[in-house]
Symmetry: C2
Subunit: 154 residues, 2 copies
């Protein structure tokens, strides 16, 4: 089931970053996360629950990209990850997941979203513990990288 989720989450992420922050991200090929370690400085996480499946999504940002996103949106940004930034990343995570939820609903896949949690700390890594494989989509920009990851119980 995970593969059907790739395009909805990816297109929702590109759309949110482009419309909210005029930030054009270039996705790399989605792939299964196996031994790969994707490190970042601020991550938004959200749980998803449906009758068909349960799962989790994360969007991990390098600090430079998170700060540049804030600057593009409101004209200024703090020098480092603070509560304004974690609020922004929580909001982006909510919007990306909400957008994907609408796209998946059109395919007959419905789920409820929990509330977002944001983790901050230099070079942390995320480990999804659903039973299914973890899909990772790296995204590049001039000012840093982001990673969408998700996994569902099969």
């Amino acid at each position: 089931m995970n593969v059907e989720f790739i395009n909805p989450f990816l297109s929702s992420m590109l759309n949110v970053m482009s419309t909210m922050a005029q930030m054009e991200l270039t996705p790399e090929k989605p792939r299964l996360k196996k031994n790969e370690v994707a490190m970042g400085d601020v991550s938004g996480l959200i749980g998803m629950v449906s009758k068909q499946a349960k799962g989790s999504l994360s969007i991990t940002f390098e600090a430079s990209l998170a700060l540049a996103t804030m600057k593009n949106m409101v004209g200024e940004a703090p020098d480092e990850v603070n509560e304004e930034i974690t609020d922004l990343i929580g909001e982006i995570t909510n919007m990306v997941t909400g957008g994907a939820k609408r796209l998946l609903s059109e395919k007959g896949i419905e789920f409820d979203m929990a509330t977002p949690i944001v983790v901050s700390g230099p070079n942390h890594t995320i480990h999804h513990k659903a039973k299914g494989p973890v899909i990772i989509i790296p995204l590049k920009s001039d000012v840093g990288r982001a990673y969408i990851e998700f996994s569902f119980d099969e």
Copy 2:
């Protein structure tokens, strides 16, 4: 609604750590997390969804406590946080939330759990972005600290 959740989550955590790992933790008084920053090295996070509310839970461990928990359970532990440890912390998070879910169900509060996510990285912090207040329960032991945090949309 958050206050009713304190005892179920706390007693479930004490019970899981005691029965799985013979680890006796001493809770401090639960309180609202305001300007407090609780840092840890490995955290289990889980989303919760019900008709009444949505929310998120985290259990943040200092590495020393996570490693000692593994050692108590299986007789040996790695020197640092690795995938065995993140698996264990994901499992503990699942069991604590599952235990609290049963206790809350007896009070007529039902929710579904998403799948756990584990974050690793020295000194990271967790920011719950539900609309309600964040409750934090610090727990002490001889080998390090843990923090249960949760928040629900009101």
